[in-house]
Subunit: 203 residues, 2 copies
Amino acid sequence: MASTNGLRDRRRRQTRRDIHAAALWLAREHGFDKITVDMISAEAGVSPRTFFNYFPNKEAAVLPGPTELPEGLAAQFITRGAAHPREVLADLTQLLVRDLADNAPQRQEMHAVFALTRSHPALLAAMLARFDSFQRSIAEAVAQRLEQRPDGEVPTLLAALALTAMRTGLERWACEESQSEADDSPVPYVERSAELLRTLLTP
Amino acid sequence: MASTNGLRDRRRRQTRRDIHAAALWLAREHGFDKITVDMISAEAGVSPRTFFNYFPNKEAAVLPGPTELPEGLAAQFITRGAAHPREVLADLTQLLVRDLADNAPQRQEMHAVFALTRSHPALLAAMLARFDSFQRSIAEAVAQRLEQRPDGEVPTLLAALALTAMRTGLERWACEESQSEADDSPVPYVERSAELLRTLLTP
DNA sequence: GTAGAACTTGCAGAGTGTGCAACAATTCCT
DNA sequence: AGGAATTGTTGCACACTCTGCAAGTTCTAC
């Protein structure tokens, strides 16, 4: 019975955060390919063996959180029922925006991650794989809503469109110089990309 | 002076093909994570050290050919000059279709590769990285044509759209049962996806 | 034909990632 | 509270990946 707030689980989450923080800090400091799992574990205060209990590899330790569509948001999206693809896409954008608002990613961290992926192909590949997994979970939700197969063309393409908007918006936000401390949200950037994507395809 | 048709270069190309063929064959037979570089090299008749002279890792050996927009096609595309994004996108589709027609990928091989990526995350990540690199080279061509920055939003989004169409079309083609031997081209599939992408957003 | 360039190979070594088993800590139940 | 069951940590051994270096070999060019 894995309670979500027992001592054990709190420590587990903390350890995970510690390892991630250590990995990201070291990678920014020395470059991703100049650090080892031994270094990261030492910095995080665990054994190298424990590192692999939390992350399957070095890449996963550097990249932030899980990449799956939250259950609740997906259900809410699905039950709206079939509609014209344009409307479904608009809902998808709303969905992603809400997810972003909930998760509240840190600009500093995102900036670091994107910068790292630019010079380290292995890290880029890992991040792309995460986006792809996220995209698949979106496609599945779309398929359920439209009552089609999850690997059908329409769900796949709609998910790709929505995720492309989110990806480019996020990246743009992360690369921007942080000016205002208060309203530091990627949401406007994602909405802007989604809007641009829409206008690009309509005459 | 690296001539393109001396004995040396012909042998080099052949060796590369041999290693790739061995890697793909073994991966299909035993699964990607059940084979080692030693096995592949043995099958291809080279030393393990030589394997790494041709490919940076196991993933690259399994995946087919280089993934960059050919110089010639890109130049032809760029010199058409600025136009409405819709038209640029249409030209991009033409570009990709022509590239596919030139490269003439084998359905059998593509089918095997896509199937492998489905069960082997490392391979999927590597393939996504290749598509991403391809997408970047497309974005660069678009940027040159529109006289914008290569990492600008419009070139990025247009490249993403074009490549999404190609990717889903290709995958669909690869998964289809091969019926007609003669006209076995992915082109109609890619065009279909591009068309679908276009109509999805227009009321 | 010979000098130099390019390719292959073996070897040594650092690093990744996994299975296993012992040990330690928490949680559960009474 | 106390003992059993569960879960987490760690060390160890081991297979595998990938790189630099230094031969040795094969092709190319003049």
